[in-house]
């Protein structure tokens, strides 16, 4: 194998999704131009920066949940875990209240660890308690939303709305450094890490094996429970990481901000071509899927702004829904074609033929 030149791009998982990736890239470019023609301010520096800001947390959420979906599972809790962990950390560290950014640094480990803990809980519920992933993570979704805001209310002795500083080193690291959208670099780095983990390590290999046929993987001697838990821990930890970028970009937080975030992230994963039943995952596809969703969200928003009677947000929901359904239908069609096996003429038919 000639994987000397570029070991990562030569990996099967990337190649397998190659065609779909090309389609997404072309669609993204086309949409970009359409939105630009409708409203030239779409391509303005300001708007591009806005798009980068909103792209980063969704992309990171989507990267993490790709591992969960690759096992054949789902994680509905990542959205509320993401915002919940930021609300919790903000309340505990009293950001924006008395100390300003005094112990702002402490929020970073608290946010990430909260994500990891919820991921671990999801993993244990699914792997050890054998709960259906949908139910288990629906539970943690509600629990994380409720619990983090209750703690925040108790700590702050008022509402759970939390303020982070709007400018400072937090933004320099996670959003914009000297005008440069550093968040994109983080996404790039995390994408490379995810590709290595998914395609070049035991963790990824076993996660894909579990998604392909969990029982076969178990009978092959794989500790399937352990690797399922790892997948959910990755999903939760990435929800925590996403919270850092979200918070830096949107310093005024309420818990409600996390509602529905998980669905946008998951939609990106499906559009990117990761199989809904697991076993095949495309990290590159996840990034591209998230990108196209951001373009649509932002583009529609601009196109419909200024005197339009329809709400851009609602149109965005509808369009996103159609795209997700289309992408998953594509996945089903792909599988159907792959499952077609040529059957040689049966003896039955031969017998009939000889009769006549």
């Amino acid at each position: 194998m000639s994987n000397k030149k570029s070991p990562l791009l030569n990996v099967k998982g990337v190649l397998a999704g190659g065609k779909q990736n090309m389609v997404i890239i072309l669609a993204a470019v086309a949409l970009f131009f359409v939105f630009y023609l409708i409203n030239p301010s779409f391509a303005s520096d300001l708007n591009l920066n806005n798009m980068a800001k909103s792209f980063v947390p969704y992309a990171i959420l989507a990267l993490g949940v790709t591992f969960v979906i690759a096992t054949g599972g789902i994680d509905l809790s990542i959205g509320t875990v993401c915002i919940g962990s930021a609300v919790l950390a903000g309340a505990i560290c009293r950001t924006g209240v008395a100390l300003e950014d005094g112990i702002l640094w402490l929020t970073i480990p608290i946010i990430v660890l909260t994500g990891t803990v919820f991921g671990l809980i999801n993993g244990l519920l699914v792997a050890k308690c054998k709960l259906a992933p949908f139910i288990a993570t629906l539970g943690t979704m509600l629990v994380s939303r409720g619990l983090t805001s209750v703690v925040a209310e108790a700590v702050r002795e008022t509402s759970s709305a939390v303020k982070y500083p709007t400018v400072g080193w937090f933004q320099d690291i996670f959003v914009k450094y000297n005008g440069f959208p550093v968040g994109l670099l983080w996404v790039l780095a995390l994408t490379v890490i995810c590709m290595v983990v998914m395609y070049k390590t035991k963790i990824g290999r076993y996660i894909l094996a579990i998604g392909s046929n969990e029982e076969a993987a178990r009978l092959s001697g794989i500790d399937t429970d352990k690797y399922k838990i790892i997948a959910y821990v990755i999903g939760g930890t990435f929800a925590g990481l996403a919270a850092l970028f979200y918070t830096a970009a949107n310093p005024s937080l309420t818990i409600a901000g996390g509602n529905g975030m998980e669905l946008d992230a998951i939609a990106g994963v499906y559009i990117g071509g990761t199989s809904t039943t697991g076993g095949a995952a495309s990290i590159m596809g996840t990034i591209l899927g998230s990108l196209i969703l951001v373009i649509i969200r932002n583009g529609l928003n601009l196109a419909l702004s200024g005197g339009s009677i329809v709400s851009a947000t609602n149109i965005t929901y509808a369009v996103t829904g159609v795209i997700v359904v289309g992408a998953v239908m594509l996945d089903i069609l792909k599988k159907k074609n792959a499952a077609k096996v040529k059957i040689p003429p049966t003896a039955e038919k031969k017998a009939e033929a000889s009769k006549s």
Partner: protein
Amino acid sequence: MGETILTMQGIQKYFSGVHALKGVNFDLRAGEVHALMGENGAGKSTLIKVLCGIHKKDGGSITYFGEDVQFGNIAESQAAGISVIHQELNMMNHLTVAQNMFIGREFKRGVLIDDRKMEEEAQKLFDRIGVRIDPGVKLGELTVGKQQMVEIAKAVSRDCKLLVLDEPTAALTQPEVEELFKIMNDLRDKGIGMIYISHRMDEINRISDRVTVMRDGEYVGTVNTAEVTKDDIVKMMVGRVIMGEQKQKSAVAEDAPVVLEVKHLNAGREVRDVSFHLRRGEILGFAGLMGAGRTEVVRALYGADPKQSGEIWLSGKKVKIKTPAQAVEHGICYLSEDRKRYGLMLMKSVTENTVIASVDDFISAGLINDSKMKEASAEFNEKLRTKTPSMEQLLKNLSGGNQQKVIVARWLMKNSDIFIFDEPTRGIDVGAKSEIYRLMEDLAAQGKSVIMISSELAEILRMSDRILVMCEGRKTGELDISEATQENIMQLATMREEN
């Protein structure tokens, strides 16, 4: 006994190249219980499916109440008065008994369903056939035996003239069997013809009027039950012609060490106090009828299912095996009967399927070396002569025999010592079968040990050095190959515990 209601003559059936029914004859009279017997795979179920319209016959004729028929589906055969009671019941546990009985043809008052009327009708029916069940309770609250009676009552309520009972007693307790027989006798008096499929010889003797035996899709013969002994029937079932190449004597050296010993294994409902040992280079055959608990024994041994009690000793050392991962660490591997569900990742490549148990061996500095994996996979699959266009080929595109080889390659790569094959040639065509046999012989010759579960007696006799026979979760005997015959294996396989 009354007039002949059903005559099946020279029935032929092919399944994509497999000749499943080779000219089978069968007839049934009104008010008769006619037992249909044969080993697993003899074609009994296929014959029934042809009768009730699930499969189309490829030759022969079916005459039902004097008319030439070919039912297109179950609905048609049901409308004509043919009902099949399956071993596995397909009923809705959350509905009441009466609701289940009248599903699809509910009594109504206006647009509303009249539950009271349905319960009354059900009660009348139960009284008529002498069943004591409350039609108002949820079906799920009844025992399997009672549920079966509901199903029989349902058949009767549809004005059934021909009732097929497919292994009805498999899940019943002795008193339930008695009750079932009482009902069957009542139905017989009412002139209903019954086809009774069962492996249980003593039941056949008690309940049936005639017995028809099938073997390998062929019609062997029909006899009056009263005129034959149990041994006669067994002989008909296994046939006198024995596959040419039965192993004459064990190929295992006298002093070959014992590599595996299982002591007093109990697991689930299916495995009761099973003990056995396995020696180096030995092929140990597990014989028995379907549901005898053979698969359950090896799955418990392998850690795939929990054990209640029992010890496992490997080369003289007691070990704990609670998960398949531990079994694999101890050099045991299991090749399931249902490869698609329990063995293969169909949408993954030959390489990925081959290396999945040995991923650790291809990691350096935390990263997987894919090219080394591919080389190793190619090496092992070439050794086994797996036919595949490339190592990248998805496994679903390989034939059954080659899929099996990929799984063997997986475990050879892992350097396993004890190979457990569960029905290794199921779904594999005849040509590839002998290759799988050679493969197992090679393994044994290399000093590996093999456990082979098989429901084909000819296969057991050809491959095994020693044969362990099970019936209803118990080990009923152990035979050296030199003393084993189809007949004495069958005797042990049907040796039920006295109740």
